[in-house]
């Protein structure tokens, strides 16, 4: 491969790659454990359920708000734990962006830090402002 006029290499420290890998792995493992456990429990406590019923009624609609979710988790609702597992999956890349912001800032890369911060803010706007607005 011919690379012409290659720019100087701007390297993140190896620790950044290791931490980002860890963030993604922990998020995934946590989500998998919660989803697998809660899905199993849901199927056990709803033995006669069928796919048509599942299509007709979404069981997590009552747990999308913080108060509803916490209440559901306290009472041991499988649907609330399913919601939690999905939210962990959504939160994982957001935390990964935050970790990138930390390392770009620490490496003195102002432009990349600003870009990553902008992405982080847009993600928060999407999750906490645009979603509820559309709803």
């Amino acid at each position: 491969m011919a690379v012409t006029g290659s720019p100087p290499r701007a390297e993140l420290p190896p620790e950044a790659y290791a931490r980002m890998t860890l963030v993604l792995r922990l998020g995934l493992y946590l989500a998998v454990v919660v989803l697998l456990g809660s899905l199993t429990v849901y199927l056990i406590v709803h033995p006669g359920a069928d796919s048509a019923g599942a299509i007709a009624q979404n069981p997590i609609l009552g747990y999308l708000g913080l108060a509803g979710l916490i209440g559901g988790l306290r009472t041991g609702s499988a649907a609330a734990y399913l919601t939690l597992g999905l939210l962990v999956l959504v939160a994982t890349p957001v935390v990964r962006v935050l970790s990138g912001l930390y390392y770009f800032h620490r490496n003195g890369e102002r432009t990349m830090a600003a870009v990553t911060f902008t992405v982080f803010v847009m993600l928060l706007v999407g999750l906490f402002a645009v979603g509820p607005w559309v709803h």
């Binding site: 491969m1 011919a2 690379v3 012409t4 006029g5 290659s6 720019p7 100087p8 290499r9 701007a10 993140l12 950044a16 790659y17 290791a18 980002m20 890998t21 993604l24 792995r25 995934l28 989500a31 998998v32 809660s38 899905l39 849901y42 199927l43 359920a49 069928d50 796919s51 048509a52 599942a54 299509i55 979404n58 069981p59 997590i60 399913l82 919601t83 597992g85 999905l86 999956l89 959504v90 994982t92 890349p93 957001v94 990964r96 962006v97 990138g100 432009t111 990349m112 870009v115 990553t116 992405v119 847009m122 993600l123 999407g126 999750l127 906490f128 645009v130 979603g131 559309v134 709803h135």
Partner: protein, 284 residues
């Protein structure tokens, strides 16, 4: 169909989707959505919500492996996310509005057309193993968009540098829009932008696409959750199966040649495009 059987079958299909999605950078949602709609009879909006969750599972699984192996370019990926995230927010919002206007079939046809549109470029580059004569633009030089990865199939370190960042940003905005709108990772467009405009090697393109699709999906997820399109009884088995399949894919990709990766995703994209168009037209 009994729910447990439905969940089991969905999980098995998701394993295949995760495997293919991680190898090609497509993300898995592009396979899961037509399968959910056509084979399982799931309404399109719920399929879109499930697709977003499969993308998140694929991205976290493969992202961890590809970042560790330095196959994903973190710097380029994070830079391009500034275009995909607003695109995803706009796309997801528009989907909710269009579904409310009963335009689901139009969305399916549009998805098929979007998929078909990437085929000619991929065919044109089918014999290319690594890009040649790549010249970085001013932004690429300033931000240090260069890297190197060890190619296990070629058994050597491959250096690379990013070329035209402006058109790549434009395509990435479109990729985000498509991702938010259809619940797919829009990896095809991300790979297109990374490979064709930035001129990155195919494997770096698919690995970086896999790294990016999670953030794009997270941007659209808030909208789809709030609209009630994410049903955990579909999303949970899809996520679990996809994660398993994607893990397998992340073990295989480093050992494949770039040309092979391209050859895997082309027929899949064509097949799915035809299927969703026929479905949108009511012929399936």
């Amino acid at each position: 169909m009994d729910l447990w059987l439905f969940v089991l079958l969905l999980g098995l299909v998701a394993i295949a989707a995760g495997l293919i999605g991680s190898l090609t950078g497509l993300g898995g949602g592009v396979i899961m959505i037509p399968v959910l709609v056509i084979l399982f009879g799931v309404p399109f909006p719920l399929a879109v919500g499930t697709g977003v969750i499969t993308i998140l599972a694929t991205s976290s699984t493969t992202g961890a492996a590809y970042v560790r192996d330095r196959l994903s370019d973190i710097r380029i990926g994070m830079f391009l996310e500034i275009a995909t995230v607003p695109g995803a927010l706009l796309g997801a919002t528009l989907t909710v509005l269009l579904v409310h206007a009963s335009l689901s079939n139009a969305l399916l046809i549009a998805l098929g057309i979007v998929l078909l549109s990437i085929v000619p470029g991929a065919i044109a580059r089918r014999h290319e193993e690594l890009p040649h004569d790549v010249r970085p633009d001013a932004r690429s030089q300033r931000l240090g968009f260069t890297g190197e990865y060890h190619d296990a199939a070629l058994d050597r370190d491959v250096p690379y540098v990013a070329a035209d960042t402006d058109p790549a940003l434009g395509v990435m905005f479109g990729a985000g829009f498509v991702s938010g709108m259809f619940g797919i990772g829009a990896g095809v467009f991300k790979v297109l932008a990374l490979e064709r405009f930035l001129r990155l090697p195919m494997k770096v393109s698919t690995a970086t696409s896999n790294f990016m699709i999670g953030v794009t999906a997270a941007a659209g997820a808030g909208v789809l959750f709030a609209a009630g399109y994410v049903n955990p009884l579909f999303a949970a088995p899809a996520a679990l199966g996809t994660a398993l399949g994607a893990y397998g894919g992340s073990r295989i990709l480093p050992r494949l040649r770039n040309r092979t990766v391209r050859l895997i995703f082309l027929p899949i994209v064509v097949l799915l495009a035809v299927e969703v168009i026929l479905r949108g037209l009511g012929w399936l």
